[in-house]
């Protein structure tokens, strides 16, 4: 199976030819940062294009079709256009927090993004508390959203931010508990080890019923955490114009848009890593020929294939269900989803112990 270690080791040795150790490490860190930014931007543009095309297909439209072949450059054009838009200064807002809020949102999603295993040995942040880290940094985004809503001093943004805060923190518990089920099954929190353990069979098949339940609860909670699908009431356009980012214009609005799509990708990627083995190909123990053929497919294709399958589920749900009301949303989390998660954890630990 092809490993990205060859490329990274090559770059490492080339840098050591010209620079001493300290500067070589520094250069590597800068390269890693630039690679993260590039992947982040390219993925966001791809996702926005995919969403527009898929949404168009669901609604029997064509979607973007003029810019480039099949409209593939539409989102690039949109991003360039949004840079040329005026950043409106408001009179009565908290200007410092208003500026800081997009930074926090992007930082939260970038930190989570860096911890994903994109392919074999292509993994920026990997340490023994990986899953814990994912949950911790992904919840930082709430602060950015609350600050955005609060600092713009408008009623719509305030209501949007409060709804979003209540929704995000509630569904975070379910997401955390569903990932906990996988941690119980694997016995480690290190993401690369979790992926390695799935070389025999993916966790969703190995974990009996609780893994399947955990997958569905995670997908539901994840959709709610990204403010999408039927859970998009923080930015319900028919009642709150645009929710917490109503007052933002130009590229500052663009950051929220980017972060929203990247969060969708991150949730799908975490689901793929924890339940479908990340970059690990489909292996069946005993079927050596089958395993060999599966190994021929590069690992990043496996990762992105699984992730985009989960993204497609997210889009499908989004364009199929009507929006929930805030009390229905919170009831659903606290009275249905969380008890299911708690019972699921006990079931999973029973299976692991006995």
């Amino acid at each position: 199976m092809y490993s990205f270690k060859d490329i990274t080791d090559g770059i490492d040795s080339i840098l050591h030819l010209f620079l001493n150790d300290t500067f070589a490490t520094l250069a590597e860190l800068i390269l890693a940062g630039l690679a993260l930014i590039g992947a982040y931007a390219v993925l966001a543009l791809t996702l926005i294009y995919a969403e527009r095309k898929i949404c168009a297909a669901f609604q029997c439209r064509i979607g973007p079709s003029r810019t480039g072949k099949w409209g593939v450059f539409q989102t690039v054009a949109d991003m360039i256009k949004i840079l040329f838009k005026e950043l409106i200064r408001l009179d009565h807002n908290d200007r410092f927090l208003f500026r800081v809020a997009p930074f926090i949102v992007i930082i939260a999603s970038m930190c989570t993004f860096a911890a994903l295993p994109f392919a074999k040995n292509l993994h920026a942040i990997d340490f023994n508390m990986g899953v814990f880290y994912l949950i911790a940094v992904s919840s930082l985004g709430v602060i950015g959203i609350l600050l955005a809503g609060w600092s713009s001093n408008s009623k719509y943004t305030m209501i949007g931010a409060m709804r979003s805060g209540a929704q995000l923190i509630s569904y975070e518990i379910s997401a955390g508990l569903s990932l906990l089920a996988v941690v119980i099954l694997s016995g480690t929190m290190k993401i690369s080890e979790i992926v390695e353990q799935q070389s025999e069979m993916w966790f969703i098949f190995r974990g009996h019923v609780p893994a399947i339940i955990a997958f569905f609860t995670y997908i539901i909670a994840g959709h709610a955490e990204t403010n999408r699908g039927p859970f998009d009431l923080p930015e319900a356009e028919s009642e709150l114009t645009a929710g917490y980012h109503t007052e933002y214009s130009g590229i500052q609005f663009g950051f929220y848009y980017l972060a929203e799509y990247l969060n969708m990708f991150i949730v799908a990627a975490i689901a793929a890593v924890m339940f479908f083995g990340g970059w690990m190909p489909l292996h069946v123990s005993g079927w050596d020929g089958f395993n060999y053929i599966m190994d021929c497919i590069p690992s990043f294709i496996w990762f992105f294939g699984k992730t985009f399958a989960c993204v497609f589920i997210a889009l499908w749900v989004r364009w199929s269900f009507p929006r929930l009301r805030i009390d229905q949303l919170l009831n659903f989390e606290w009275k249905i989803l969380m008890p299911i998660c708690l019972i699921n954890i006990i079931l999973m630990s029973l299976i692991v112990v006995f």
């Binding site: 890693a32 940062g33 993260l36 930014i37 840079l83 040329f84 838009k85 005026e86 950043l87 409106i88 200064r89 408001l90 009179d91 009565h92 930074f103 992007i106 930082i107 970038m110 930190c111 993004f113 860096a114 920026a124 942040i125 814990f132 713009s152 001093n153 408008s154 009623k155 719509y156 209540a166 923190i169 518990i173 955390g176 508990l177 906990l180 941690v183 119980i184 016995g187 480690t188 929190m189 114009t241 109503t246 007052e247 130009g250 590229i251 500052q252 663009g254 950051f255 009390d327 919170l330 009831n331 606290w334 009275k335 969380m338 008890p339 708690l342 954890i345 006990i346 630990s349 112990v353």
Partner: protein, 112 residues
């Protein structure tokens, strides 16, 4: 690497804001700086008292999020602690479930 991720995120936002500053037009008039609501001027500030229902959920969240934090180390060591660990977890979850039932019965989960 964690710091690199933070710095690269800040770099991305900073560069884009800087670009926008040079590329975007600037114009101002009296009405532009108003809050975007319904077209008519806003009444009062939005920094006011907010309904208490949201805070109740925030308090409940604290309890259960702490629970998740405490469960993670337990989950990693479950294979070593075995049945003992399972019984401990049983009591832990039982107490928390009682808390949830109490909040439910008290009506903290009801959206009034």
């Amino acid at each position: 690497m964690f710091v690199v991720a933070i710095l690269s995120a800040m770099f991305l936002v900073g560069i884009a804001l800087l670009l926008a500053k040079f590329l975007a037009p600037h114009s101002s008039n009296k009405l532009k700086g108003q809050a975007y609501e319904c077209g008519i001027p806003t009444r009062g500030t939005s920094w006011m008292q907010f309904r208490v229902g949201y805070y109740l959920f925030a308090i409940l969240y604290l309890v259960f999020d702490m629970e998740t934090v405490l469960l993670f180390p337990w989950a990693v060591t479950l294979r070593e602690t075995g049945i003992n660990g399972l019984i401990c977890l049983g009591f832990f979850v039982l107490i928390l479930t009682l808390g949830l039932v109490y909040a439910w019965k008290k009506g903290a989960l009801k959206w009034k």
